[in-house]
Symmetry: C2
Subunit: 416 residues, 2 copies
Amino acid sequence: MLPVNPPARLLMGPGPIDADPRVLRALSTPLVGQYDPWMTSTMNDTQTLYRQVFGTANVATALVDGTSRAGIEAVLVSLLAPGDRVLVPVFGRFGHLLAEIAGRAGAEVHTIETAWGQVFPTSAIEDAILATRPKVLAVVQGDTSTTMNQPLDELGAICERHGVLLYTDATASIGGNPLEVDAWGIDAVSVGLQKCLGGPSGSAPVTLSPRATAVLDGRRSVEAGIREPGDEVLDEPIRSNYLDLAMILDYWGPRRLNHHTEAASMLYAAHECARILLEEGRDAVVARHELAGRAMLTGVQELGLQVFGDVAHKMHNVVAVRIPDVVDGDAVRGAMLADHGIEIGTSFGPLRGRVWRIGTMGYNARKDAVVTTLSALEQVLRRGGFPVPQGGGVDAALDAYAAAAAAAPASSAVVA
Amino acid sequence: MLPVNPPARLLMGPGPIDADPRVLRALSTPLVGQYDPWMTSTMNDTQTLYRQVFGTANVATALVDGTSRAGIEAVLVSLLAPGDRVLVPVFGRFGHLLAEIAGRAGAEVHTIETAWGQVFPTSAIEDAILATRPKVLAVVQGDTSTTMNQPLDELGAICERHGVLLYTDATASIGGNPLEVDAWGIDAVSVGLQKCLGGPSGSAPVTLSPRATAVLDGRRSVEAGIREPGDEVLDEPIRSNYLDLAMILDYWGPRRLNHHTEAASMLYAAHECARILLEEGRDAVVARHELAGRAMLTGVQELGLQVFGDVAHKMHNVVAVRIPDVVDGDAVRGAMLADHGIEIGTSFGPLRGRVWRIGTMGYNARKDAVVTTLSALEQVLRRGGFPVPQGGGVDAALDAYAAAAAAAPASSAVVA
């Protein structure tokens, strides 16, 4: 068997996207033992970095060693004891996932649903809170299945008023869209690296407020084999050992209580993802995604394509394009990949085969990536017999970039 | 915050160990989309490689995206429904861990225990099977906390005779010691990369026999959001979504049903770990670990140190050295790290502070690594005031290597 040797790809789907080359280099950093002073110091540094990424002072900020889905399950299984009520507003595939994971954790799951392509008015969520009185409100921020970005900025205050913990899965949205954990009063957040953070899948940064940490404190159970006199042992511990955030945080905390062996390579990647984001600046990164997303949006529109969903509420970093009835969507995706080396996606469930999802995320939220993708899409549609205006998409995107450059100070990072 | 920049380290503890430089390079390979034909083909190749590593024809062979502990929990939570009986022979910290994880999965856990430093006679395990009639026998192969290697070669036949599924956690032992999944009749195995496979923590290869897969077939529940007409939905699905092996195997199987986003960088690492092992040959790799382990064992003995436990049953790849009463064990470990750049470990629970654990694993199961470690240990003990024979450890190790070279054909990989 030969070494892995992937083809050249520009990943413009809903994620994963091309990792920043700096992150790829960080991945190849040599390993160090898990209790080496350098390693524990690097873990502490990584926590400091992610507090800044999240906009939080939460002590309980760490990485879960798994994909973003592991982070979701870690939060839900750790906060929700069997029988606890959780409310999940579902506006796409990943809302269903939160409900599914909470259900498997033994929670009493209540959902409200809206049509794919819409978000919830805040009042609808508050009404549902009043009707169900949950312990936790679990809501996706950006659901890539529909591209929608649920407004969260008012939910923290509502949840606090009603004694509810607010958890959000911000995997798809973080970096590309505003997320202010402390200012918005969010109690728990989990994310992944493989979208706007420009890294590989496989590490899930999480953060928990003091209110959420207090729940863990009541559910801590130190495992046999490393337990010491005075350690907590519960008859009904958190249902997962691997995803028990109380134990994970004891490993990341001053006690350094052994749990798993930290996935050092993924830690290095996560560390570099955060450094890259903070170097550019959180607001500048969001602005870069907003511009790239706007350029892509106007580009596909000027190619004569329709956009799916409530565009006013879509994430900056991904757009869902309706596949015209006369076009074979999979053939277009196949030609984009085979002839141009560019990946775009379709979606799930009711949107499977009905939309293409085109991402402008992380390292790929760049002018040249946007323009190259629109240029390729024009060629593929043309060759497939679908009439498209020559250069319509490319011109629209370049106009968006030119307008942003003209409007911004010359030194602004927005037009970098 | 500066980029990660670890100090030079030779990792001769119980793991993680220095990753093979080839694996570090593989980690920095560019990403590809999860449904790219190249990616799915590379996932298939990785399954083929791990079938060879495990010595199995099991179709159900894949990676769990998490550390070795995630692999353990995936197997146990997927095979054990709440109330199912499991028998765990405990001979160290990781036996306690299997019991803990099974208990959190809701299983009825029965344990038998033996003193740390011993293994179980096969007959004792069969007696316990007869007494408890478990659905699953869950046993660690090599428990790094004690260095013991439980003989498994007769357990498969016993389990089959009694209708029991045999699961083993071979994280610490695989590669360094024989493991024959099909020939020994083992139904489920999980491992990690960070010991004798020479990779980083963060990916857990697993394999399941057809008998074990049949259990999953009865517990499959396709999640909302991607469910299609005819798909299975259970009222009581597997308690974890992230670690549901039925879903993970549907993602790795021909249906490619979306679950997590594969951690591509860790997949690349796992792929390269297997390639390296198979290139050298499974038997040759075990022989290399046997020789390195024997050289280290005689080396520490010739330095005048005592070895802990039943040496006839220890793993090849790690030795537990009793810390002499007059020696400050942590000071020795500190000086090894600070002055020589070499990490050795201590242990857990009853052995914490009582032994040093010295590993000779994977990329570090090499003559120069063994000799360098023994040379450093001699110096550190001497400077600490503990009398050691000059060159006693180094000579013993080199004699072991010379004897092996003299006994083996000139071209043998054993002395490479």
